[in-house]
């Protein structure tokens, strides 16, 4: 993929890039270029399927675009913020038995370029996960006990 945008945009931090979308929508392209491979890589490592990984990644950036007008999202915009969205997207997909596409549909971005077989394999992986992003996805929204467990797992004894 070609990198685009002025040098000035490339220098901006993630929160500044999201904040500048109001006046310069193409700044989102720089944000996308900067993180898309990392997000795709993380999702792909979890799902091991190109089509599903691409669908989830696009949904993640669609959510990021939708959230970009919110001050809190701008403050926390970063790669880990995107990965948090990716895990949430996987979790919702797991609960609804299809790749989450709500935000893309709302924004008018094409969806659904994966097969049932693609998703069935991913769902199986999520179900059997014992750690990592898929484990988080499988347990997302499980309530206080899961939250505490996740927190202990993520931060260990250091926190």
């Amino acid at each position: 993929m070609k990198s685009e945008g002025s040098g000035g945009r490339q220098e901006l931090s993630d929160p500044d890039l999201l904040a500048s979308i109001d006046g310069d929508p193409d700044a989102f392209g720089v944000f996308y270029e900067r993180h898309v491979k990392a997000v795709l890589g993380m999702v792909w490592r979890a799902v091991r399927n190109d089509n599903v990984a691409l669908e989830v990644t696009t949904e993640v950036f669609a959510k990021a675009l939708k959230l970009s007008s919110r001050p809190r999202a701008r403050k926390h915009a970063s790669r880990k913020w995107l990965i948090g969205i990716a895990i949430e997207t996987l979790a919702i997909s797991y609960r609804t038995h299809r790749v989450e596409d709500r935000v893309r549909r709302k924004l008018g971005v094409p969806v659904g370029r994966y097969s049932e077989e693609d998703w069935a394999g991913v769902e199986e992986r999520i179900r059997n996960a014992t750690s990592g992003p898929l484990y988080d996805a499988a347990n997302f929204g499980g309530g206080a006990s899961v939250a505490s467990a996740l927190r202990r797992r993520v931060f260990g004894n250091a926190r």
């Binding site: 190109d50 696009t58 669609a62 880990k80 990965i83 094409p110 992003p133 929204g141 499980g142 993520v154």
Partner: protein
Amino acid sequence: MNLSSKARRTLGRWGFRVPRRRPRSEADADGMSYRDIVWENAMEAYHSSPDPQIEVTPYIAARLDAAKHELLLKANRMKRERDRRMAERRRRMVIVGATTLSVLVSAGATSAVIGVTTGVPAIDEILGVHQAQDPTRGGSIAEGSSVDPEAGSIYPGAPVVDVEIPSEDAAGKPLTGVGFTSLSRRLCYALPSPPESKIRGHAGTLTCQPSGFVAAGLAKNHLVLLGVTSGTHFILSGIAGEDVESIEMRGPDGPLRVNVSQAWDPGLPDLGQVRVFVGVVIADQAGLENDEAATNRSLDLRAYQLKAHLADGRVMTVPAEPLTPPV
């Protein structure tokens, strides 16, 4: 405290410190919700690990490019929608802030001295009556009216233009209105009422509009109908562009006489040379009894046609609806 999101936002805007709401079911023992962990802190572990590597095949690259293209299209569309909403909000603020004045002033009110005389006694009377209603000049304004104290005064040095009112019942005495720029830099015109209306207590009509509002109307239709005042005579008045040579108004009883002033430059931003136009419909000709008309019953404008004859030979049909700023 169990407040709705809207109430929280409102209180926040007013400067209250509203504690952040946490879903009870998701808050853990330390008071941090599961969502907080995922969104703000839990990714530390992933962040600290090296970027996972993926082989970007041409297929994947093409789909990522396509997704980027779609998202940027949407981002640009969102910006345009946001800009449009902002512009609309600003426009409404300007219009609400500006004086939109179309008043019938009472002939019985005390006359007052105005800073600049128009040279037309009838107009001076209208302006003077208007100023007499201004509390800052010792007059009084009816409760609920929002009258700009400066709307009734002519901007010093700004040119004015005369417009003859086509009144057939003026007892042979020509009635002349005047277009001018007010002290508050708005495009105004004052029209004395025909004698019959005056007897009923109407000295005339004073209308002021922001120049930008008039300019937008002219850009669309070459003329804007700004006022329809009732009485024994309905007076339809407005502003036409410089390129309008004549105006044709046709009602249920045939064509009406409409006078158009000379083009004049009011010296306002957004506007070049413009003209004032005035048409008169006598109430009984409009199918209404005079008493009925005098009680401000509205003229059924759907039965009227308004056409602007332009200098280049074109004829524009304009909706016979008074243009009023949205509030």
